[in-house]
Amino acid sequence: MADEYGEHREVAERNLRILEALLFASAEPLSAAQMAPYLGEGADAAALLAELEQRYASRGVNLVRRGDKWAFRTAEDLGFLLRREEEENRPLSRAALETLAIIAYHQPTTRAEIEEVRGVATGKGTLDLLMEAGWVRMRGRRRTPGRPVTYGTTDAFLDHFGLESLSDLPGLEELKGSGLLSNRLPPDMQIPLPFDGPLREDEDPLDPDDTGGQDVDDEA
């Protein structure tokens, strides 16, 4: 009896080795049916795969099931090994800088309003980039037709630009004084006071599925 069992184990081990090699070398996940022809007569591929799955469960590489197919994959908790971050310093593009400035001064503001000030359409990538940089956030939705998303700046924005609060942003007179704005400006020109408090009267909270840089304007 012991002999028979030993022989059985030996056959099973050989089959397990074959499965290991097949799964390792394959460029795509394999089904039990695809691997069965390589196994010895009468082998139970499903049972062998279950055993292999068990054996690798605690290893750095796991045998995982994808639909009815199997593949070796790096253990999920070690996924970080396969990622490497490289940081790259890059100047912000002019479009992004302008968009950010408008959001900073005019917040809460919508994409349409940004475009009105800039005089050109704002690429979705620009807003995405500013949100990815952590400087701009979606605040809510304006209570106007189309319910456009309102944008505002973040604490990281203040932090990066060395501002204690938005009220530190220079006003009209200061901009003139520093020469950034010329003196021949129309007398009615105004620079808004940025507002980053809680939602305003004309703002609704974001919808539950407003997560990324989505904007209902796009779907219109």
Partner: protein, 264 residues
Amino acid sequence: MADTPSDWFDTTPVRQPSEEDVLHVDVNGYEGPLDLLLEMARRQKVDLAAVSILALAEQYLAFIETVRRKRIEVAADYLVMAAWLAYLKSRLMVPQAPSDDEPSGEMLAAMLQFRLKRLEAMRDAANQLVHRPRLGLRVYARGEPEPIVVDRRSIWEASLYDLLKAYAGQRERGIVSDYAPVQRTVWSLQDAREILERLIGESAEWISLDTYLADYLASPQERATVRASSFSASLELVRQGQVELRQASTFAPLFVRRRKTDGQ
């Protein structure tokens, strides 16, 4: 799964089995004179160490002679070897004089034997190498490697000054476009036609077009568009039979008058 092993190394240029064939073989079938010599030695079916170098030299020389008699071009390498073997043969056959500083025939023969053995050894080694369990033929790497993903995280650089400059720049741009609209007058064909019809009225006199348009041509910015549009309009009126145009010569003033209708 292919079932024919890639046994190409052993199957490359098939060697001639019989002495007869050798004489007809193209020298180009060999990888040089050493290869040819090795082939001849092998055909003696003995260990290379036991090969008679003298017999080998004679066989080689005979082969080259045959090939040349057939007026087949023989590569220089083969001729150099033939010359060397002829020399070797002479050294082997003539007893060495005591005063002779040249290497003995035996030494030359040993050197040739060494080279043949070394070439054969390298060939065996190559054969063994190629039949090893090679990567991608018998041994496999991970079929679906999981490459390391490099996340390029951009650290955006912008100063408060950049930000303020961008903002101020935009606000000023907006203002400039509001206060100094660049307006360009363009006479449409429709406008030109209406003005022209009004000016010509029922006048049947030949009057130059410029005279009619004198008021409008005063402004230099508008001169081109006024001329172009009214000229086009006048052609249209001619086509419709309402006016007549006359020009004495190229670039001369263009005269226009109302066309007389029949029965008037």
